[in-house]
């Protein structure tokens, strides 16, 4: 063990020192300040950028917080902005762009982006606004041993098959609540609806306008599917988010899970769970509706942006540092932390679910400027339906009414 650590330490030191000389860090003596969410893949990127370029910068600071989404607009609005770069995802890029807080990166990509692949470039009307480095999505987790025990053939691929598998597990007396999903009131419950609605082929807005259009047959079908699934979920499901569902899974209290791909590595590693759970956990694509083809998931990417309200040389140094971190060596050292979009990634068992979901043709999380408002409304108003206090039509018309009020106040309608 000790020897292994020593060799590993030596290797990383060697790798870091060699890349220190190799990396192009742009203008010297600049201040680099990064705001990012807090999970292993983002740490890997930021670590790598820091060890490459902290030496040539006058300051290199990082703020990793799960609350990044809540503070980023306030932090980036003043001139100069609090951070030179915010590491974002689909929805948070929209959030920053709505206030004009990220700059186009076309000239920087030309200068420093030699090792970037074209599918890493996030473009809006031809302007590169972010550089993605990893992908994520929700998908299914199955406990094959329990499915076998309950007499389920193969792995369920549609919502109906999931429901009948859950019923088999329940009636076999193995588990009363075999299903886990992130259904915490608010963002999570809204996101589950989004995935099932997309699987039903739904559209969120009327073409070319900010008017919501979810109160339709597809919306109702999606809600009915959701309700049927929830029947088999843990009774406390309305309070459960990623950490809770992961906990239930690792404790062996669930057999079918609809969770984030980014949890795959954590669940499959040998910490926090028993061998019985980890060796029988299989990750597979998000389900489709019976006879449908679109996997019920939203695809996400995480990527870097550069602030509008900082000097050009700070922007250049920050971009160079972050891009210098996106190397195949970095990916090799952190292979199982994410579904990397960077060269050198070897998809392991933890990546199987996201890959299958993306290949199945799942949709990206919609990047409409007003999407966040609709998402909030869904998160708040679907709960009554799930509790059984309201009809699907009523719930959807409530969502539209709440969205309309908020969108008018925020100037989108």
């Amino acid at each position: 063990m000790f020897l292994k650590k020593l060799i590993l330490g030596g290797l990383t030191a060697l790798f870091f020192s060699s890349s220190l000389f190799a990396a192009d860090c742009g203008p010297n003596g600049q201040s680099i300040r990064i705001l990012a969410s807090d999970f292993p893949a983002i740490h890997a990127i930021a670590n790598s950028a820091e060890s490459n370029c902290a030496g040539s910068a006058s300051e290199f600071t990082r703020n990793h917080t799960t609350e990044a989404r809540q503070i980023m607009n306030a932090a980036q609005t003043p001139d100069p902005a609090e951070y030179t770069s915010v590491i974002v995802a689909n929805s948070t890029l929209v959030q920053l762009m709505n206030d004009g807080l990220v700059r186009p990166l076309n000239d920087l990509v030309e200068k420093y982006g030699g090792n970037l692949k074209s599918n890493q470039l996030i473009t809006i009307d031809g302007k590169i606004m972010a550089i993605a480095f990893m992908a994520n999505s929700q998908h299914m987790y199955y406990r094959t041993d329990i499915l076998d025990k309950a007499g389920v053939d193969g792995m369920p691929a549609t919502y109906d098959e999931i429901i009948s598998a859950a019923e088999k597990i329940r009636s076999a007396g193995i588990m009363e609540h075999p299903l886990v999903m992130n259904l915490k009131v608010g963002w999570n419950v809204g996101e589950v609806f989004n995935t099932i609605y997309l699987a039903h082929g739904g559209e969120f807005f009327k073409q070319g306008s900010a008017e919501a259009s979810i109160n339709n047959a597809k919306g109702i079908a999606a809600l009915e599917t959701m309700k049927a699934l929830v029947e088999y979920a843990h009774p406390d499901h309305l309070t459960q988010a990623s950490d809770d569902t992961q906990g239930l899974w690792e404790a062996g209290q669930a057999a079918i899970g609809f969770m984030w791909g980014s949890r795959g590595g954590v669940i499959l590693d040998n910490e926090g769970s028993s061998a019985e759970v980890t060796s029988n956990t299989v990750l597979s694509a998000a389900p489709t509706v019976t006879g449908g083809s679109i996997p019920g998931a939203t695809l996400w990417w995480d990527g870097i942006t550069i602030a509008t309200n900082v000097s050009d040389s700070e922007a250049e140094a920050t971009f160079a540092a972050l891009v210098s971190g996106m190397t195949s060596e970095m990916v090799a050292a952190n292979n199982d932390d994410a579904i990397w979009l960077i060269d050198g990634f070897k998809p392991g068992p933890a990546a199987a679910g996201v890959s299958a979901t993306a290949q199945g043709g799942a949709k990206s999380y919609p990047m409409f400027a007003q999407m966040g408002l609709l998402h909030n409304a869904l998160g708040a108003e679907l709960v009554d339906f799930l509790k059984g206090a309201e009809s699907a039509e009523q719930a959807l018309s409530d969502v539209e009414a709440v969205y309309e009020t908020a969108a008018k106040d925020a100037g989108y309608l």
Partner: protein, 344 residues
């Protein structure tokens, strides 16, 4: 004291109150009358690792120009107060016309966020306040009768619920009532029902929040009553004992009247505090079953991409208004007592 001396005395406090309370309230009110400018939306082609889609984005330059002309936003009058997020006048009128019974009407009203939040907030306030008053008084009486040696440690232990930060205190309880927690698992055993969950049932969630509120606030009323008990005149108690009054009669006719002004003070503070119940809802993740007025304000603001300052402002003004109404009876009573005393 001369009026001018008195004024000088409270001038620092008054000016701070004006600066940090009065002016912000006025600014919140003004904010509640305005909404955001119309966002200039353009249709755009958006490409990511998974393909290209046609979506919309905000034309920030054009939107910024609008903002520069009128930074407060677009004047909206009292429409925010009457919209669906608040008093929902139009919707309620419609619900009244389309409901064939009163129960259906009430159910429909309960669908609107402000009324839903009000129903929990008021229930919470009117259940927790009397319990805290009564139980706090009982604990104070009990502690007062303890031998001297035990008093110190007992007082310290009784104050603990108040010392524990509300967020932490309710988070600990949240874990304990979980199906795998001490309380949750015991309840499941006791009732022999494996799917019994305190978090899944609306009624049990309300009960849990109120029990937590009582537990958390009782030390406050206890310590104030306990301090008050030290000032009960011995002569009156002795006189009552000589007259043959029982312990209960002494408490009822001597101690309680003596503590009445304190009880009014505690009631005022408790009403104000309980009406602003917030932390337990967050830590118990109880939003599905119980929301409060303060939770609504937080909810309007927390999505930093789309903070609804007007909605949060309007809800804040409604809170101030409601607290005023709640306190009115107690204030009128105090005012009357004060006048009578002055006459006598």
């Amino acid at each position: 004291m001369k009026h001018s001396t008195f004024l000088l005395f409270i001038l620092p406090s008054l000016s701070v109150m004006f600066l940090f309370i009065a002016i912000p309230i006025v600014s919140v009110f003004i904010q509640s009358l305005h909404i955001e400018h119309k966002q200039v939306i353009i249709v755009s082609e958006n490409c990511d690792p998974f393909g290209c889609e046609t979506t919309t984005s905000v034309d920030t330059e054009a939107s910024a120009k609008l903002k520069e002309k009128a930074p407060l936003g677009k004047f909206n009058g009292f429409k925010t107060y009457s919209n669906r997020m608040h008093f929902a006048f139009d919707e309620i009128g419609e619900a009244w016309n389309s409901s064939d019974s009163f129960i259906v009407f009430v159910k429909k009203i309960y669908n609107y966020p402000l009324y839903r939040a009000l129903s929990f907030t008021l229930t919470y306030t009117f259940v927790v306040t009397p319990f805290v008053l009564f139980l706090g008084f009982l604990v104070a009486l009990g502690v007062n009768n303890l031998p001297k040696l035990l008093k110190g440690p007992t007082i310290f232990a009784s104050l603990l619920p108040m010392i524990v930060t509300p967020l932490v205190g309710s988070l600990i309880l949240f874990w304990m009532v979980d199906g795998d927690g001490v309380i949750g698992a015991t309840l499941q055993k006791l009732f022999n029902d494996n799917s019994l969950s305190l978090k899944a049932s609306p009624v049990l969630t309300w009960v849990m929040l109120m029990v937590y509120g009582i537990w958390h606030l009782m030390p406050f009323s206890f310590i104030v009553f306990y301090a008050g008990l030290q000032t009960v005149p011995h002569e009156t108690i002795e006189a009552a004992t000589i007259d043959g009054a029982s312990k209960f009669q002494r408490t009822r006719h001597v101690v309680i009247p003596h503590l009445m002004p304190l009880a009014i003070f505690i009631t005022l503070i408790l009403l104000m505090d309980n009406f602003r119940v917030f932390e337990p809802i967050i830590s118990f993740r109880a939003e599905a079953h119980a929301t409060s007025i303060s939770w609504l304000i937080w909810n309007h603001l927390r999505e930093s991409a789309y903070p609804l300052y007007n909605a949060a402002g309007a809800t804040s003004m409604i809170t101030i208004f409601c607290v005023g109404i709640l306190l009115l009876p107690v204030l009128i009573r105090t005012w009357r007592d004060f006048n009578e005393k002055n006459k006598g």
